[in-house]
């Protein structure tokens, strides 16, 4: 396509009303502890992959919550599944299972 120098601006806000959250419900079913997260950021702070690259597991699953699946699958591939995040989580969220479950659900896209 030829570019005329114009483009449609990306929406600035999360438009939630039109989104289907079916995939979120399935994730919540697969890993119920996920609902308990209170976003303390402990997981991201300790993340082994996060020491080398800008992988932020808390951000990934928050985007997932709002149905923003673009590139999340790619992002999640950076995880080494070492389990440090699961071990530090004060809310007992089973992050390792959450990550594998998210990858499975995103893979269906």
């Amino acid at each position: 396509m030829k570019s005329f120098g114009f483009s449609i601006a990306k929406p600035r806000s999360l438009e939630i009303d039109g989104e289907s959250l079916e995939r979120l419900h399935r994730l919540e079913e697969k890993e119920p502890s996920f609902k308990r997260c209170f976003n303390c950021g402990g997981c991201t702070a300790t993340c082994s992959a996060g020491q080398f690259t800008d992988f932020n597991i808390r951000r990934v699953h928050n985007l997932y919550r709002w149905g923003r699946y673009q590139e999340l699958g790619e992002e999640l591939r950076k995880c080494m599944l070492c389990g440090k995040c699961t071990l530090v989580c004060p809310r007992g969220v089973n992050l390792r299972h959450l990550i594998v479950s998210m990858r499975e659900l995103l893979n269906e896209l």
Binding site: G41, G42, N56
Partner: protein, 371 residues
């Protein structure tokens, strides 16, 4: 009912013992007053003792330690008015000098037993028995053992201290790192041992948020050039004047609040502490070197609370003692004549503890009047 059956058996056991080993029953018969046994002489126990004695009841106040109100005496200033903790403790102890109050120091209590309605027996560790009409548990809290969160480096790196240790430094009016320098940067971490399912404590300890703000302000007052950071998950400024203190901390003292939980601490070659957290508001991991990392320890049921709650069958959540309901019967237990006050029930601020002790005193007086 159960206790009634157990009684004769116990008596028989004693009679088999040599006389010297038999529990001595100390009868308080000088007057026909009801006797209230209060276990634990912290702010709750002392305040309740004073109030009950003022209503002409006899009070036996038991304290496991040699000193009264140890936790309170270890404090420097009290939030939210920055009044002096020692002054308050001294005042309360002065009021304890009441003819109807007998204080038993260094007298840990083994268990309390209900003999019949309106009749309790209090057994001390050294096998003495006291009779009482009502018993009030004020066995309090103890702070979380920070070594259980090894990733925070307490006990491993010298730069990691607890909120209690910092309070102690305030009392000495000397804040320094191990090398003796005054700290250039101090980081506070909230919720150590509270709101943490991994260590089995889901609850909020209620006082750490405002304590950190208080300590940060005190620190800034002593060392205005020190950078102070407070890492929090939520700041719960629930009491009178708390939110205002938070505002003052931000505006007047330039204390920086970061929303994120520190998940790892490591030592640096120069004796400092390297912390890892995420600034969750911008979504970036954060590394920071600090001279002191202060862990805001949560409250847990004290040993005495756990032990007595268990032996009386009134164990509530997390080893604290459980009251009948949190609204109208918060000082009552399902055992008649056994009452609760203060932090043996749940984490509370000092303000709440004193109010709760007074309410317990009131309930006990009501209970005794029905006798």
């Amino acid at each position: 009912m159960k206790d009634k059956k157990e009684r004769p058996g116990e008596r028989r056991t004693w009679s088999l013992l040599p006389k010297a080993l038999r529990p001595r029953i100390e009868v308080q018969t000088q007057e026909e007053r009801p006797v209230v046994a209060i276990i634990g002489a912290g702010p709750a126990g002392m305040e309740a003792a004073i109030q009950i004695a003022r209503q002409s009841c006899q009070v036996l106040l038991f304290e496991a330690n040699a000193d009264l109100a140890l936790n309170l005496q270890n404090k420097y200033k009290l939030f939210p008015d920055m009044s002096d903790a020692q002054t308050l403790a001294q005042g309360m102890m002065l009021a304890l000098e009441h003819p109807l109050i007998t204080v038993y120091r260094q007298t840990p209590i083994k268990h309390v037993v209900q003999v019949e309605n309106f009749h309790w027996q209090v057994f001390t560790e050294d096998n003495r028995v006291f009779k009482a009409t009502a018993v009030l548990l004020c066995t309090g809290y103890e702070v979380f053992d920070a070594r259980r969160k090894e990733e925070l480096g307490y006990g491993i790196y010298n730069g990691v201290i607890t909120s209690l240790e910092l309070e102690n430094m305030f009392k000495q009016e000397h804040i320094s790192t191990l090398t003796g320098d005054s700290p250039k940067r101090v980081v506070f971490l909230q919720c150590v041992g509270s709101r943490d399912e991994k260590v089995g404590n889901r609850y909020c300890s209620k006082v750490c948020c405002v304590t950190a703000v208080k300590q940060a302000i005190e620190l800034k007052r002593m060392h205005p050039e020190t950078e102070v950071y407070v890492f929090y998950m939520d700041l719960r400024m629930w009491g009178k004047g708390f939110e205002e203190m938070y505002r003052v901390a931000q505006e007047q003292y330039n204390i920086r609040f970061v929303r994120g939980r520190i998940s790892e601490a490591a030592g640096t070659f120069d004796g400092g502490v390297q912390i890892k957290a995420e600034d969750t508001l911008i979504g970036k991991p954060l590394k920071m070197r600090t001279d002191l990392l202060v862990l805001m320890l949560g409250m847990e049921a004290s040993c005495g609370t756990k032990q007595l709650a268990k032996s009386c069958g009134i164990v509530g959540d997390y080893g604290f003692a459980g009251s009948l309901d949190p609204h109208l019967n918060d000082n009552h237990t399902h055992r008649k004549g056994l009452f609760l006050a203060g932090t043996c029930k749940r984490p509370m601020s000092l303000t709440d503890v004193i109010a709760d002790a007074r309410s317990a005193a009131m309930e006990i007086i009501n209970y005794l009047s029905k006798q």
